[in-house]
Point group: C2
């Protein structure tokens, strides 16, 4: 049995005020005279009453809880996002109710939980969501911000790295170093991140009259390793590989090393994300750094300012990021 908590009723009794006066004292912005406030606070302190965030949430409809849905936490990019998001939200007085989806796709049951816990908004990272999920949350007026994802019909707010532009820049960079045979190893093909990176990469090269090979990966180290094992045995193997994320690129590097292929002399590799491991000396991976801090800042701004701007259409932000040059790409000697 839990110990009984002091209630607002007891505080009201002791301070000789009504229960609704006690509520007002603990509701930010509510009107109450300084004299009454002091009397209530003194009484509260005396009997150990603490205002309850959940109770306050029921009155003000503000729980200060944000739901966060995350899928593939094995990719080191996402723990970093979780870390930074939690800190930024905490600094603004918000807390994270964490959901890890069992499947790629978020289901109705999980949505029910958001509603039950009266979350003020939901941030979704690498998960798929159906239009029925979006409409159910919007019926209840709970804003969603997709982090590094967007829906084709723009029904949700979203904050993304400009994956398309980044794919183009990466192709241009490799092209300028004099590479000729290009391969793209994709992430899961149903993700907008992988599709856009591929689109930018392929478009740039096509304009130069080059047809890159596209191999299917799934954003895991194992996929990078296995795809590269096959690919690099071929005598007509690529001289430059762009991987849809860093963790796959590390798999490609390891597969190449195992086959005795020297990086970057025989093969250039570029990743995406700039996870901590990319800078480890034996990898020293050239990669695209997503503008994580800016992305998080914008995500939170949209989520928390949403209340005042409900007439505006969903926002879709695309932020640039930048190429981090390390040692996995052969540099053109002039």
């Amino acid at each position: 049995m839990k110990k009984k908590q002091s209630t607002a009723i007891e505080v009201a009794k002791l301070a000789n005020v009504s229960q609704s006066t006690v509520s007002r004292v603990f509701t930010p912005g509510a009107k109450v005279s300084p004299k009454t406030q002091k009397r209530v606070l003194d009484a509260a302190q005396k009997i150990g009453y603490r205002p309850n965030a959940l109770a306050r949430g029921l009155i003000t409809n503000k729980t200060n809880i944000v739901g966060l849905v995350m899928g593939n936490i094995q990719n080191p990019f996402y723990p970093e996002i979780l870390d930074k998001l939690t800190k930024s939200l905490y600094e603004r007085g918000y807390h994270v109710l964490f959901f890890h989806t069992k499947n790629d796709e978020i289901d109705q049951d999980e949505i029910s939980q958001f509603l039950e816990y009266n979350v003020e908004g939901v941030i979704m990272t690498d998960v798929l969501l159906s239009s029925s999920v979006v409409s159910r949350l919007s019926t209840h007026d709970i804003p969603i911000v997709l982090f590094n994802r967007y829906t084709q019909d723009s029904s949700c707010h979203s904050v993304c790295c400009d994956n398309y532009a980044a794919g183009k820049k990466i192709a241009e960079y490799l092209f300028k170093q004099g590479h000729q045979k290009f391969t793209y190893i994709s992430g899961r093909i149903n993700t907008s991140t992988s599709r856009d990176r591929e689109k930018g990469f392929v478009e740039f090269l096509t304009q130069k009259g080059i047809k890159p090979i596209v191999e299917e990966g799934d954003y895991t180290y194992e996929a990078g390793y296995n795809v590269a094992r096959q690919l690099l045995k071929d005598s007509n193997r690529p001289d430059a590989i762009f991987c849809a994320n860093d963790i796959m690129a590390l798999g490609v590097i390891d597969a190449a090393k195992n086959l005795g292929i020297s990086i970057p002399n025989d093969l250039s590799i570029i990743g995406f994300d700039d996870i901590a491991m990319a800078s480890w000396p034996l990898y020293s991976l050239t990669t695209w750094q997503q503008p994580v801090n800016e992305m998080i800042e914008e995500t939170i701004n949209i989520l928390l300012n949403r209340v005042e701007e409900e007439t505006t259409k969903p926002k879709c932000l695309f932020l640039s990021g930048s190429l981090i040059e390390r040692k996995s790409v052969k540099i053109l000697k002039e």
Copy 2:
């Protein structure tokens, strides 16, 4: 402005029952006749009323929220724990309110948040907590389970890998392979995990008349790399290194490779945790696998059964785990 939610008052009006009857219908285990229940549920459905977990929490004192405090999420061991803990709790109808501590030590402000959100229990992983924090939570009768940590005075429940016994086994294993010069690279020295692994390792070797060297690390890749850079330049370098966690061991392997030292021929390395990267082919790290699933199971059992067993003293469980042999240790030829 948020849309107004249908309230229990409206449901009560429509169903022609009192508000407390509506509450009872939505409170698990509360008494209400089947006929009344049907009338209330029909009314609720008609006007789109949904029971609110937070409101129910105020009535039943059950919010089904567990607070989780995690520090160093950059060590891949912890995202895995987060993932599995969240899943296991979700299966039992509980949700995780996630806290990432700014500092090593959890502070009073963070504790206030647990109280405000009326969490039913708190799980703490790699964070330090003072006795004042423990006593404050226990005043409010909120159980704490330390995950892979314990307090010297056993004031909290805790579920640990038996780090002391594992340290001994690791020393024994290396000793039996014929190694002679041993080094331990510690984690952060104020952690029980690192101290116990060291104690077991040193004790076993001391009994064999060997005095191992102890170097200070901090559980990061960079520490492993930097300590090894210094250590391995010495002509009297060790032939076996035990690292307090895997991520440091990977740093040691990379430093050794950079110095042209062959693993395992010239140097044997053992880690601790069995993170996913330990099995990557270019590392193939022999390590101690913590019994993660069992540890999570026990943690949740203690937390959720705690209510019925409040008279018992704090539980301290030590679970074994097992050695995973890969290719980073030189095997004795007979």
